[in-house]
Assembly symmetry: C2
């Protein structure tokens, strides 16, 4: 793992790194003594490790929750080379989103192919990050990623036992539903009631498929890109509950 830059802003350290040719970024609290729980951020389709929404989310998790946070560019995204297939798929995604149409099985297959490549990348990155003092091998790990972030994240969390809590959403499809049935860690799942690219029933079906004892669906009005801001804080509470407090949150009110 090679760090290529370090900056700090508002108490948040941001370090760019490359690891096995994968560009990534690690945010952590400035001056934290010892290790922090780690949250992995999976960006959306056509986005990258430092998309503005991801940076704002990382700063919130570091400052409000005291987590270390990391993101890497998905295959064919950000600073990574694009194949012809990447270009074609991104073009299809943009067309469908612009037309307000469901992404369909073609994009589900593309996401599945990305996931097959991204899962070992995430796992190797996690190995390397856990050797850093600010992360440490013994601390809990969470995953946040919606839309394509779930397309990669759901099979990642199904495969990776170090991840013990996850926020997913804005996604559906048979491949993900099969992976979800192997996930038993706590899940918070975001659904947009008027999602133009993920039909409502298919999103509800994916939520239904998780085998987790604790899973909570947060559905809000609006389109695919319209997740309300208050869900950021909610996800911070979810991760705090599971990565720091370790409480039995399925007690009945």
């Amino acid at each position: 793992m090679r760090f290529t830059s370090q900056t700090t802003s508002n108490g948040v350290s941001e370090r760019l790194f490359t690891f096995d040719d994968i560009p990534g970024v690690l945010w952590s609290p400035v001056g934290a003594a010892g290790s922090c729980p780690l949250v992995l951020l999976g960006h959306g389709g056509g986005q990258h490790k430092k998309a503005p929404g991801l940076v704002a989310r990382a700063h919130f998790y570091v400052r409000a929750c005291g987590f270390a946070v990391t993101a890497i560019d998905a295959p064919g995204h950000g600073d990574r080379p694009r194949t012809e297939q990447d270009e074609r798929s991104v073009a299809v995604i943009r067309e469908r989103v612009a037309a307000g149409e469901p992404l369909g099985p073609q994009i589900a297959r593309y996401n599945a192919a990305l996931a097959a490549q991204a899962i070992p990348e995430w796992q190797a990155t996690l190995d390397a990050l856990q050797e850093l003092d600010c992360v440490g091998a013994g601390r809990p790990v969470g995953f946040w990623g919606v839309s394509m972030g779930s397309g990669i994240g759901v099979p990642l969390v199904a495969a990776e036992p170090r991840i013990t809590a996850a926020v997913f959403g804005l996604a559906s499809g048979e491949t993900l539903t099969e992976a979800a049935a192997r996930i038993t860690v706590p899940v918070e799942f975001l659904l947009q009631w008027d999602d133009e690219v993920v039909p409502r029933d298919s999103g509800l079906a994916l939520f239904g498929a998780f085998a987790s004892r604790e899973k909570t669906l947060h559905a809000n009005p609006g389109r695919h890109a319209g997740v309300p801001a208050f869900e950021l804080e909610s996800s911070g509470r979810f991760f705090t509950r599971h990565l720091i407090e370790g409480g039995d949150s399925v007690a009945v009110a």
Copy 2:
């Protein structure tokens, strides 16, 4: 409004009152200077103003959020006289719940009749409470009530403009759906994924019916009585956002 007792515990003042023959309870922060936002609690079928879950909720809202909180016995419940119809309906509810069956239109009609009586009672109680120093007429008012609490609460909130944020859930039916379509204030709606007395699709349909620009569905696995404990804190954040911070929480993340 006649106060009949006052006790304090852990920084929470609890005063029992009667108003127009309706027994109620008011919880508020001990030693609060000035007025507080007020949250009305609607209890469930067969329960009453001081059911253990309601008392715990009231203490949480007072201590964690600084609200005043009130509950009154619904018609035919708690310390109020029961009619033969009340006895019959409660017996039917208990049978259906014990058998794990949907409550059905008969109970929906009973709840609608209760609501018709309870709405002016709540409104008169609110008039009287707003004359107290610890509540005040100018402060925002919220409503929390699930199951029968929503059976009364949804038409109450549709009718009462002083209530500016509400938590509902575990309910459905045509009467409520019609009332929900007249509600535009922020709503948090609880749904139990495996609710044995409220079919899932009918609960989703009631959520869909609210005309609110901000409405958020929280669905969790489990049966009717199994709402997870973390939803208490979530509702506290929801009320804090709307009754204290007054923020535009529908900004996009």
